[in-house]
Structures are given as C-alpha cells and as structure tokens.
C-alpha cells in the first residue's frame, strides 16, 4: 500500500499554525460568530426531543455494530448496489481513488465536472488531481464554491467557508464572477451563485458527489443537504460518481430513522434537512444513466484494528464537536492543517496517516469534554485523544531523542517522586527553597525557563507557600499529641 498522498507535504504542527491563526482577528471573529449561531440553533432543536439521549445511544450502537461487521455490510452493500445497476469500485488509497475517478471522467471525455460537497474528495485532493489532468472541477455547494473561488481551503467540514463573512464573500464573487456591482445582502449573493451555477448544471454531464450513508440492506446511497445543489448534481448529469469512505455503511434502511433526526439537528440546527436524497443504482429515464460508487479506505482499515480508537469511525460528520470546541472557537479549522478539523479531526487525521503525520493534533485539546457531550453517536473523543497521546509517547520513548527529551525526563522524574511520599515531600521542600531565584518582589513568579515559559507568557504564579498542607497537618498532630 502506498502512503496517503498528503504525507508528501509535511504538516505544520498545531501550536505553530494556531499561533498564525490567532493573530487573524477577522477570522476569529467570524468563527466565533458562526459557531455561536449554529450552536444556539443546535441546542434549541436538540432540547425539543425528549428522547435525545436514547437517539444518541441508538446511533452509537448502530454505528458500532456496522463497524464490527464492516466486511459483511460492505459486501452486502456492493451486491445490492450492483444488482440495482450501480458500479462499485474499491480504492485502497487516495492515488487509487483519484485514478479511478479520473479514468471514469476521461472515458466520458468530460473536460468539466460539477461537484456536490464531498470532504472525502478534499481528503484525497481530487480537485488538484483533476486539474493536473485537464479536467475542471466546479464546486456547487455554496460554501465550497466560495472556498474554491477564493483559492482557499475549507475550515469546517459542514460549513467550509465559515471563516469568511458576508463582505468577504461579496468581494470574492465580485472579483471571480466579474460582478463589480454585486450587492451584499444574502439574497444578492445567493442570486449571483445561482446564476453562476445554473448554467453549469444544465451543461455538464458528469458529477462527483460524496454521501452521508450507504445502506447495506438496499444498496442505497443517502445524501443530505440544505441548498438543493446536491439534488441537481445527483439527478441532472448523465454520469454520477460518488466517493465514500468505507466506514459510512449502515445495516438497514430503518437505521436512517435515527440518523436523519440526529444529523441535521447536530449539524445545522435544523429539524430536518431541506433536501434528503436517497438513490439506488440507476433507473431508465430517470436520473443519471451511469452510477459509480468509489469506496475509499485510505487509512481507515488500520483504525478498525485498534480497539480503543475504533469508535473514531462511528463519526457521521455533523461537526457539532467543532462548533462546541473552545479550541476551535479560537483558531478556526485551518490551524489543524487537515480537511478534518476540530476535535474529531484531532483524532481522525493522525490515525488516517498511521500516526506518522498530524502528531501534534491529539494535544490540541484541553480535554474539556464538550465534544463528547454533543456527539450524536457518543464518540468519547477525550478518551481517544488520551489513547493517541499514549501511542505517541510510547513511540517517542523508543527513540534516543525522545528518551532524552525534556518532557520525558520531567515526566519520569515526577513519576519517581509520586511513587513515594517522602520523595515527594523532599521535592516540595526543595521547590520552596529553589524557587527563590524566580520569585519577584511582589511574591509572584513572573517568568519561568524552558517549556514552563509557556505558562508565564500570559500568567503569573503565586510563589509556593512556606508550608505544605502535609507539613501543617504533621505539626498539628504533634501539637495535639503534646496537649493530650
């Protein structure tokens, strides 16, 4: 298996990327505003459901069951999809998926394709691959179109242009669509996008889509959206190519009952998506004449083998964990340097790369647990974050640099002290004496060396009190003993 393509470019680590993003006050303002709005809507519609916790439980159980028996359900899906006239392709990695999709497009001699938002295609960098081979991909999802015309990258996998405000969108449209007179109301912007896209829906004969669910029992594919652009892409072209991660399969059609309640409420704060498309193979005289489904592995199978981390693949990509995450609120999605940002991105991205890339991401969390609380399929993200940190530490300890690194030495020393109270107590006394060089006249520590400088860059620390609790207690016991 060839390594995923994204490995070729080394990912900037999270703290450095975050530092750049934190300096962009416009992005921070946009992200904060947008996530607050979505989060408030989500909380309102979730509160309407008395059985929300049961729905979470059911969703979690269905997804966990599907992953336990993924081989069975994928084979069942393939058989049923094929029987209905669809063609199923299996792609081990990004390179295979890109070449399958390009091959299909070239077979139909298409020079342009329309796309409905697919994060899987972002994951494999499909657009760049198509452009390099003379095929122009046109994004039809409004936010993806903004990102594409702005020569930008998605910062959120449900609302990819969440980091842009209306004025910025207007500027992009004015420039790229050559509409200098364009107004800035939502209606103006939507009308411009509609005019720009409508002609393309009618002319272009090949579409590329993603999907939210694959139903094994019927061989159906389900895609939910808010704009109707998806419906156009799924129904108007002659050829439809859907690229979907292997983990997206669910056993039964009936299972959609759960997810079509939890997904829209979690993702956009809607009770139901305005457009819910479910299609099964091809139908004479209705919709595309050819339907191809590319099942993408690209690093997913190894995640299944890890009992602790397997739950990562239960994700239904609602992005509620991004909207609620206090880290994401500050940095936005670009700091993760990954298609999958936020808490789920912090666990998914490094695993998709066999922990060889994105290794700073599991540390990009204060473990506050807000992500787990909102997750509609109950992925215990903090638990997986810690598990992945454990893997990283263990790997680093196998190298000389890791062994002799400050973090490892510090942690080993602390573990040595905590093993025995007399050692710990001695260290406390040493600290009380040794701190003197760091304590300012006001009695506070205002600057610390090495990694501890991270603390004092914005925070003071009160000097250690002269007496620890245990020493106070011992003195008290002694006094009481004498008094008796």
């Amino acid at each position: 298996m060839t390594p995923p393509e994204t490995l070729a470019e080394s990912r900037q680590n999270f703290p450095e990327a975050a530092r750049e993003l934190l300096a962009d006050s416009q992005i921070r303002k946009n992200v904060r505003h947008a996530t607050d709005v979505i989060q408030a809507k989500r909380n309102k519609v979730v509160a309407e459901l008395p059985d929300w916790q049961d729905l979470r439980e059911a969703g979690s159980a269905i997804r966990a069951h599907a992953l336990e028996h993924l081989d069975h359900y994928l084979a069942q899906f393939e058989a049923n999809c094929t029987r209905a006239g669809g063609q199923v392709h299996w792609a081990r990695d990004a390179a295979e998926a890109n070449s399958i999709i390009l091959g299909l497009i070239q077979k139909h001699e298409a020079k342009e394709v329309i796309k409905v938002k697919t994060m899987t295609s972002e994951e494999i960098k499909l657009n760049a691959h198509l452009e390099a081979h003379g095929v122009r991909p046109i994004e039809t999802d409004l936010a993806e179109l903004i990102v594409q015309l702005g020569h930008d990258k998605p910062s959120h996998f449900v609302a990819p242009a969440l980091h842009k405000n209306r004025q910025e969108v207007r500027e992009i449209f004015q420039r790229e669509m050559k509409l200098p007179e364009l107004g800035e109301t939502p209606e103006d912007l939507c009308a411009a996008a509609r005019t720009y896209l409508r002609e393309k829906y009618l002319r272009i004969k090949v579409a590329v889509s993603g999907a939210n669910f694959l139903v094994a029992e019927t061989g159906s594919v389900c895609l939910v959206e808010s704009e109707g652009n998806g419906r156009m892409c799924l129904t108007l072209p002659d050829v439809l190519i859907s690229i979907v991660g292997i983990e997206k399969v669910i056993p039964r059609f009936q299972d959609l009952e759960v997810f079509l309640q939890t997904l829209p409420r979690s993702a956009t704060g809607e009770r139901m998506n305005p457009y819910n498309s479910i299609w099964t193979g091809v139908h004479e005289g209705d919709g595309p004449r050819e339907f191809h489904l590319v099942l993408l592995d690209n690093g997913r199978s190894p995640i299944l083998a890890d009992k602790e981390a397997r739950q990562t693949l239960k994700c239904i990509r609602c992005a509620a964990c991004l909207n609620v995450c206090p880290v994401y609120h500050q940095t936005g999605g670009h700091a993760y340097r990954s298609v999958y940002a936020g808490p789920i991105g912090a666990i998914l991205t490094p695993q998709l790369h066999d922990m060889k890339d994105g290794r700073s991401l599991p540390y990009a969390s204060s473990l506050c647990g807000a992500c787990y609380e909102v997750c509609p399929v109950k992925i215990n993200i903090p638990e997986v974050l810690i598990h992945l940190r454990g893997k990283i530490v263990e790997e680093e300890q196998k190298t000389l640099g890791g062994k002799l690194g400050l973090w490892n030495i510090g942690m080993q020393a602390a573990a040595f002290l905590f093993a025995d109270a007399s050692r710990f107590s001695a260290a406390q006394h040493l600290g009380q004496m040794g701190q003197k060089v760091f304590v300012s006249k006001s009695g506070f520590i205002e600057a610390l060396p090495l990694m501890l400088s991270g603390w004092t860059q914005t925070r003071d620390l009160a000097a250690l009190p002269k007496q620890t609790f245990r020493d106070w207690w011992a003195a008290r016991e002694e006094r009481e003993e004498k008094a008796r």
Partner: protein
C-alpha cells in the same frame, strides 16, 4: 464519620489553605478527619499527557494508601474524574485484574468535596458567612464528568452575606487543561482571555470553583493584568465565618481546632 482527606499533589504544595478549609468545614460538621501521609498524586498529569504506563504505579499507590479508608474526600473534581473515568481503564491496559477489582471496590467511597457535602451528608448550609460578591466558575470535570450540576451553587446560596452573580458562558473551558496550558500556550491563553473577560464582566470580587487548577489559571492572568479580582476555592468560602475568612491572614487555622469547631 471518619473522613480520609486526599489533598491532591498540587493543593498540598500550592494551596494548603484549601486543605485547611476542608478540615475546618468537616470538623465543624462533626466529622473526624484523617490524613494519610503516604499519599502523593492521582496520576492525572501523566495519564492526560499520554504517559499512560507511568501513571499506573501512581494509581496503584493511591489504591494501596486508601484501600481501607471509610470515606475519601477530595477537593478537586478533576482528580476525582481521573479516578472515575480512567482508573479501571488503566488497570485493564496493564491487564491487572486485581487492581481493577481494588479500584472498583474503592471508587464508591471516593467523593469530591462539594458532592460529599450535598450528596453524602445531605448538607447545604454549612454555617458559613462570606460577605462578598462572588461568581462561580464551572470547571469542565465538575460538570461533564462528575455532573455536579447546581450542587456548588446550592452550597454558595446558603452562605450568609454572599452575593452570587451569574457568569456568561459558564459551560466553556478556561483553557487550562493541565499540560495543554504549556504545550499549546497560545491557544490556552486565548481561551483564558475569553474566560477572564467573562469573570471580570460579572463585577465579582471573588471567583470560586471546586478546582484550584482552573482558579490558578484564572488568577495567573488576572494578577498579570493587575486586576482586583481574586480566586478562592469553594472550601475556603464554606470555611469562612463572620470572624475569619480563610484567604485573609486573620484566618486562625493554626490555632487549636476547637476555635469555631465542634469536634
């Protein structure tokens, strides 16, 4: 009741006043306190930073020290959540069935301080007086792991003279996260700035919580900015009486315990 106090490593070293306040409150309520000097740490820092194997001996040490304790009270929700959420997992990780069984037997006797007062003792009014404008910071572990809900607020509402003021965005993390505050110091500081703004906007003199870790983080920034707002652990507020406040030098904790106590 005989209460065994697990003070936690950082309270022991940095916030001895919180331990004294816990002792004072529980003795005032008629309970006897023991302190097992062999205790050290719960292992949270190692575990959460990914030093999973290194955390196991610390966990084992805790279990050994408190194995036969009647009741264990801990003035730190994050340490309690370490035990409830991760101790069994740690035992399973190293395949130690005996440790797992010991942990399972011990956990029902482990209480966070405010939880112990409200749930185990059924007390809300601990006889405290604290005439200050106070806001309550909801720590992440207290709400999402321990589900303390309004327990700390109920305790605070019963304190004489205390004016409790609500805070904006109570559910959002202060950005401490243990080693996160160092490994991702910039993001942590940005989160802290938001939280400090919420604290200052309340106009409170004092910000309290059930965790000194968050309070240390908040105070670190508020002191750097030379603000007037202080942070005080909830135990210190509940220990306060009209005569003495624990963050005040006048707090007579080193006097014989009979002062203000009913032991």
């Amino acid at each position: 009741m005989r209460v065994s106090l697990f003070i936690t490593c950082y309270n022991d070293t940095l916030f001895p006043g919180t331990g004294k306040a816990v002792v004072r409150v529980l003795e005032r309520l008629g309970h006897s306190i023991e302190f097992r000097p062999e205790q050290t740490c719960c292992g949270q820092m190692h575990w959460n930073t990914g030093y999973l194997r290194e955390a196991v001996p610390i966990i084992r040490h805790f279990v050994e020290v408190f194995r036969d304790a009647e009741t264990i009270v801990i003035p730190s929700s994050s340490c309690v959540s370490m035990m409830r959420d991760h101790y069994l997992k740690a035992a399973e990780m190293v395949g130690d069935a005996k440790l797992a069984a010991d942990v399972a037997a011990l956990l029902p006797r482990v209480w966070e301080f405010s939880e112990f007062l409200a749930k185990k003792l059924g007390v809300e009014d601990v006889g405290a007086t604290y005439a200050h404008r106070v806001t309550y910071h909801t720590s992440c572990h207290s709400q999402r792991s321990l589900h303390l809900n309004d327990i700390p607020l109920r305790l605070l509402r019963k304190v004489r003279g205390l004016q409790l003021v609500p805070i904006e965005n109570p559910q959002e993390c202060c950005g401490f996260g243990g080693t996160f505050s160092i490994k991702n110091a910039d993001v942590s500081s940005a989160m802290l700035a938001d939280k400090v703004r919420c604290v200052l906007n309340t106009g409170a003199e004092v910000c309290t919580a059930v965790d000194n870790s968050c309070l240390m983080h908040l105070f670190g920034s508020m002191h750097r900015q030379r603000t007037f707002t202080r942070t005080v652990h909830i135990a210190e507020i509940l220990a306060s009486t009209a005569e003495a406040e624990p963050w005040d030098e006048r707090f007579p904790v080193d006097l014989p315990v009979s002062v203000g106590g009913t032991r």
